[in-house]
Symmetry: D2
Subunit: 134 residues, 4 copies
């Protein structure tokens, strides 16, 4: 039943900073990815299992808004939510906060279901579609 929500904690690695002294902006896409993996797991789905079953979920679109910098060793909380039913695509929304509760970044990613063999768009598995239904 939508909306689905999940929270994941991620510790910022040194390698993820840049010479501005903050997390390099592209690394938020790693945080989003880790967060949706954990969100799917929390609802009984494994992204690894989907690929093993012949379904891939490449990104179709990504959007990021940067509000405040994250810093080395920060313990971030990523809130992941799904608010729209799964069609041939699946949309995740994210909000990243630091330990002080400040919002650092928001964004969304749109993923498309793809048949791993044909590499063509396909339907989501029935169970996943049922999970992400209104």
């Amino acid at each position: 039943m939508l909306p689905l929500e999940h929270e994941t904690q991620i510790r910022v690695r040194y390698a993820e900073t840049d010479q501005m002294g903050v997390v390099w902006h592209g690394n938020y896409l790693q945080y989003f990815e880790q967060a949706r993996t954990e969100a799917l797991r929390a609802y009984g789905w494994s992204y690894q299992g989907l690929e093993a079953a012949g379904i891939m979920l490449p990104l179709v679109e990504a959007h990021l808004v940067y509000l405040r910098p994250a810093r080395y060793d920060d313990l971030l909380t990523v809130n992941t939510s799904v608010r729209e039913p799964a069609t041939a695509r699946l949309r995740f929304e994210y909000e990243v906060r630091n330990a002080a509760g400040e919002r650092l970044a928001t964004g969304y990613t749109v993923l498309g279901f793809v048949d791993a063999t044909t590499r063509r768009p396909c339907r989501p598995p029935a169970g996943l579609k049922a999970l992400f239904a209104a």
Copy 2:
């Protein structure tokens, strides 16, 4: 005089692929970054020089649309353009093509001028503002 345009070539590294056998989606933000560095250089500006002069350009927003996958060892062409005058912010647009001319991804990033000492928004240098003027 806007629009400014520039093309950069980037060879895909093995480390940039993921187990789907294509470039991991977050790496396009590295390509965009390298492309705008080269675009600025082509117009006589060095991002390194801006930082040395006390001005940083952190990302405020990023948007990416993925059309076709890039693969290991592909020689990509990134077209970078600026179409809007520089205010407190600067917007770059990107288009990534492979050697066959296929469009792989498009996107934009918005950067904000920040005083490196105070870490507060600031105005762009006069010369850069003049370059990015209508």
Copy 3:
């Protein structure tokens, strides 16, 4: 009192894989880095705190041996140990295992104490030297 030992768990991210379907070899240096950060924290030291106190610990040397591949979503255990007293340098040893207990990789890194202002080698803080003493 040496040897000091610590264990950290790390979940493999999708972005860390490459088109061979396994973790890209360079990412083990991120795992080592995260593991020694947690090892220092477990013994009451924060690497972030060291930098705030004006001491940096850049790498001087790294060595890695790859035995078996790590895969996406694997829950890795990194065993970190210090067996030699801290001089101007500090040596960490690592062993990475998967959930089945198989050894995937081993390695070591040597870090040098550097004064953040002068960027010249310096002595370790007394407390850290006492911790890493025979």
Copy 4:
């Protein structure tokens, strides 16, 4: 005929720096990888072609020595050499210099020939073995 030598130029990306203001140490493994890809290409071999022919070359061992930091936008020269005949393994040595000719890092990587289907060690292709012969 050994030794084989090759030089590649690599421009340091912003994303490759860390908060110490220098290239993060693990990124040298990306530089090494790009350098040996270009070295193989210069001698008529494509790593992509090897994989297409069913041979993978995962890393078995890596060693890095860091002498001086590389910085953002530095134009690095990586000297790659092969000094030992190819057996079931292939060893590359690297030397990284900046535009001033200063040696920044040295290292080597050992790669193992692996059959992509069985994922077991295999012999190098005859032509490659002939190239890397005494």
